[in-house]
């Protein structure tokens, strides 16, 4: 199955936002804060304004009424006792800067080169303040405050409970207690963000090209802020070079300011983020510290979990509690956990804003649970795979209600699943038994340090509220599908085409999908939370079914045959058993749109239908990752020898696309586990704001991923599908930690943190070995 979009991408014809060039276009550069935390005294832009080639320079003061904090994008779910302090980001800093890279002034010039020249002319007088960096220190009495109007740096506090953990603990054979850390990472899409805007005074229409995952909410928001009709604003998310979360409807300062400047100046304006800006200004994820405890029975059955964690939300919290609630809910994994007590505090710090990045906090929960099970297995003398098997939910336990609230404000209920066979299949593919029994002892005897890791996970996917699609059969017989979600490489052009092609009996290549242009379709939310195929795919399916009905109506009259006797195939409708009766969909489309004569009252023209789909709640995918690694204890370098993923995302529309999502996710996960860490110093300065020092895994760092699929359909949508966009990235850290720990078992290294750089692993080996450079094996 070839992708419909590939020819354009492979030949350089695909349009990305930065490719938009319009006569007279102006270019923007932002002056950004060098300080993590400072009072802004004065911002003097007079010299910058005088520089030749500079058209305008704006500060907060120049924005007038347009200056206002951004919207709260995701209000917190209805959880009893929840505390949430909303502090959303500002278009340009006014009195205070709260993280390095926060925009202070906007320079508009004839070229980006000139705009950057003018940044040097802007004089900022800032009084540095002590920075809030560490989440624990942030909560200490007397800590400096990120937001002065709040009594502390607490952004939110949430407690969720299931059953009585205290009682479960009292009856436990053992309790396993550890502190876990999972540090920050960048989404690092290879395409940086970009926004271009053009006001057409004749049509009175504003066109905005935006690297967003959610063009419709951006259109609606911009129209409202700029005082325009929604129909006067057209937002286009053309080809987008990777999203991974931060390109969601953030209403980033740049997203608000570029259209504003285009209107104000009456000239097209473009800003393209450079890589350095991306490290400061695009949202980030992954800073949590968990204190977790597992109560376990002698036979390895989980009795309960208690977890108290701190979540670093950065300087503002426009995205609400999605990330920590994902961590909280995903921790339970595929397991039968009778009691659960989870408490988190989200903390403001002087760092870049935290919002979902591929996995969106789920990996933190999985890491905590999987590591606790590993330590429990060791303590109880139970095999690591076996302790998991004993705790997996059984098929008859679905739908399974975990009795807590998920990020979509609905109760956390798993729709369907069949977990044990996935574990067995992963063990079989990686050869777990043979490895543990024969291979590992043999290699160890030869002085090699190899280890295996096997971890399970679930992924809440495909949440609401809804998406829509319009399907149209054109007179050419080709089919147009328009939907509102943006696409960032997932293959929606092909997956949606497949869904529609199957219903209408046409060739996939005859189905033309349009996404991400609000002029084509303007109801919907966006691409996030592994929901594109589930929610928009289901809407495409529903619209295609409605069009099919119309096709059958028109064909039935035309062919004078009963609808039930008709069949759709190869772009034609024919009477079953009468091949000569075939009439093409194109002909029927013409008949459905007569230009003369009368139609029956109530007839709608054309072969077209629009439909919407909104799931009652998210569907829960699941899977197992297994890895074999080899560690060189002398250099602390780790090589991944094999990586197996068994994934169940319900019905698979296109295995090629699903495998692609998983392979990319695993690469992202390996990055998080071993290479990628945003390193902030104690003053809130990011120390690796470039691809020289922020290390994305390359082709030599990522192993081939062996994948297998299981298909337990979701009852929550007609296609039976579940999402897959984040699955590869979620359990990777946990699998990696277990495998490395296993490889170094004779050193007694315990891994409770991710990412794990060679430098850190060297420290752990040295500490475990106690003395001797690089440590020495215990046995």
């Amino acid at each position: 199955m070839r992708r419909n979009e590939d020819a354009r991408l492979l030949t350089g014809r695909a349009l990305f936002v930065d490719d938009v060039q319009v006569e007279g276009m102006l270019h923007v550069a932002f002056l950004r804060s060098q300080h993590a935390h400072a009072c802004l005294r004065t911002v003097d832009v007079a010299a910058a304004r005088r520089r030749p080639g500079v058209v305008a320079v704006y500060t907060a003061a120049d924005l007038g009424d347009y200056w206002r904090p951004g919207p709260l994008l995701v209000p917190p779910p209805p959880i009893a006792g929840l505390v949430f302090n909303a502090c959303t980001q500002l278009p340009l800093a006014r009195d205070k800067v709260r993280h390095v890279g926060e925009p202070i002034a906007m320079v508009v010039a004839e070229s980006r080169y000139l705009a950057e020249d003018a940044l040097d002319d802007v004089m900022v007088d800032a009084e540095p303040l002590a920075a809030v960096v560490d989440v624990e220190a942030a909560l200490a009495p007397g800590a400096p405050l990120v937001h002065d109007h709040l009594p502390s740096n607490v952004a939110a506090h949430v407690v969720q409970r299931k059953g009585d953990y205290g009682r479960a603990r009292a009856g436990a054979h053992a309790t396993i207690r550890r502190r876990f850390r999972y540090d920050r990472g960048a989404s690092a899409a290879i395409e940086n963000r970009a926004v271009a805007a053009q006001w057409d005074p004749r049509a009175e229409e504003l066109t905005v090209w935006d690297t967003t995952q959610a063009p419709i909410p951006i259109r609606n928001g911009l129209a409202s802020l700029l005082g325009l009709l929604e129909s006067q604003v057209r937002v286009i998310a053309p080809f987008v070079g990777g999203g991974f979360g931060p390109k969601i409807m953030m209403f980033y300062p740049e997203e608000l300011l570029v259209p504003w400047a285009a209107l104000r100046l009456g000239r097209p304006v473009k800003w393209t983020e450079d890589r350095q800006e991306n490290f400061y200004a695009t949202t980030q994820e992954r800073g949590q510290v968990h204190d977790a405890e597992l109560a376990i029975a002698r036979d390895g059955k989980i009795l309960g979990v208690r977890d108290v964690f701190l979540h670093d939300t950065g300087a503002y919290d426009p995205y609400g509690l999605t990330v920590p609630i994902n961590s909280q809910c995903t921790l339970l994994g595929p397991y039968d956990v009778p009691t659960y007590e989870s408490e988190f505090t989200a903390v403001f710090t002087n760092k870049t804003i935290v919002t979902p990045v591929r996995g969106a906090g789920r990996q933190h929960g999985v890491f905590v649970m999987e590591r606790l099970l590993d330590f429990a297995a060791a303590e109880l003398g139970i095999d690591r795979a076996e302790i998991r098997r004993r705790n997996l939910l059984r098929p008859e336990q679905f739908p399974h209600n975990h009795e807590i609230i998920f990020q979509d404000s609905a109760p956390l209920v798993y729709d369907s699943g069949d977990y044990a066979p996935a574990l067995d299949e992963a063990l079989r593919i990686i050869g777990y038994e043979r490895f543990v029994r024969d291979e590992q002892p043999r290699l160890r005897a030869a002085g090699r340090h190899v280890g295996i890791g096997v971890v399970c996970y679930v992924e809440g996917t495909g949440i609401g509220p809804y998406e829509g699609a319009r399907v149209t059969v054109e007179p050419s017989g080709r089919v147009r599908v328009a939907t509102g979600v943006g696409t960032q490489g997932q293959g929606h052009f092909t997956a949606f085409a497949q869904i529609v092609a199957e219903v209408l009996g046409v060739d996939v290549e005859r189905v033309h999908v349009i996404t991400g242009d609000t002029r084509e379709f303007h109801w919907g939310t966006g691409t996030f939370a592994s929901r594109g195929a589930v929610v928009a795919g289901s809407a495409c399916h529903a619209a295609a079914l409605a069009v099919r009905e119309r096709i059958l109506d028109v064909a039935s009259r035309h062919l004078e045959a009963a609808k039930q006797d008709l069949e759709l195939a190869d772009g034609h409708v024919r009477v079953r058993g009468a091949p000569d009766s075939a009439v093409s969909l194109g002909e029927l489309a013409l008949k459905a749109n007569p230009l003369r004569g009368a139609v029956r009252p109530g007839t709608e023209p054309g072969l077209e239908a629009t439909a919407y789909f909104g799931p009652a709640r998210g569907s829960t995918a699941n899977g197992v990752h297994a890895a074999i690694v080899e560690v060189d204890p002398e250099t602390a370098l780790v090589e991944v020898r094999r990586y197996v993923v068994v994934h169940d995302s319900g019905r698979v529309i296109n295995p090629l696309l699903v495998d692609g999502q998983i392979q990319g996710g695993v690469a992202h996960g390996i990055g998080n586990a071993f290479y990628e860490q945003l390193v902030y110093d104690e003053n809130g300065q990011l120390l690796n704001a470039s691809f020289m020092d922020y290390l994305l895994p390359t082709a030599t760092d990522v192993p081939p991923v062996e994948t297998a699929h299981r298909e337990t359909p979701s009852p929550l949508n007609p296609l039976g599908v579940k999402g897959v966009g984040e699955a590869g990235a979620i359990p990777t850290g946990a699998a990696f930690a277990q495998a490395v720990e296993d490889a170094l078992s004779d050193y007694g290294v315990e891994i409770t943190e991710i990412p794990l750089s060679p430098n850190r692993l060297f420290e752990l080996i040295t500490q475990a070995g106690r003395g001797g450079a690089g440590g020495r094996p215990k046995r």
């Binding site: 070839r2 992708r3 979009e5 590939d6 020819a7 991408l9 492979l10 030949t11 350089g12 014809r13 695909a14 349009l15 990305f16 930065d18 490719d19 060039q21 080169y113 690092a188 899409a189 290879i190 395409e191 940086n192 080809f239 987008v240 070079g241 990777g242 999203g243 991974f244 450079d274 890589r275 960032q488 490489g489 997932q490 293959g491 090629l656 696309l657 495998d659 692609g660 392979q663 990319g664 996710g665 695993v666 690469a667 992202h668 470039s690 691809f691 020289m692 994305l696 390359t698 082709a699 030599t700 990522v702 081939p704 991923v705 590869g728």
Partner: protein
Amino acid sequence: MKDRVAAQMTVNGVPCERAVEPRLLLSDFLRYELGLTGTHVGCEHGVCGACTVLLDGEAVRSCLMFAIQADGHEVTTVEGLAPDGGGAGSESLHPLQAAFREAHALQCGFCTPGILMTLVPFLRDHPSPNEREIREALSGNLCRCTGYQNIVAAVKLACDAPPPPPPSPSLRR
């Protein structure tokens, strides 16, 4: 000499001449002066590889060269790979492009042009590479979507395919 300087070069087989400011990066020149926006820019410090083009047939980072330095040279961009610039059908793709499409070696497609331009001279010099060599050849190009696996598969597929005819003058050696 801060003013514009004349630069004459052949891009995708077509001679062109422009007056450029010396500081104009080759990547920006190709994208904004010539409108060849298939060459993408991902980091502008030579790490991501998205901007890779051929200079006299060899892969270079176009963000680490000034346009004026291409004066007198031949530049090939992704637009110059397919025989007719890549029309609608797959028959007009370069064999490597066709293999990428066949093996699902791209997702968002942003890094893809740079990867293609890295691989074209690599395959010229290594007509039947092994997996290790392919991965090392790719290690100067970042891809966030694919995990590289299908890119490696596409290279293997392209090696099995019949050798490409010289698609543009600048690819001939």
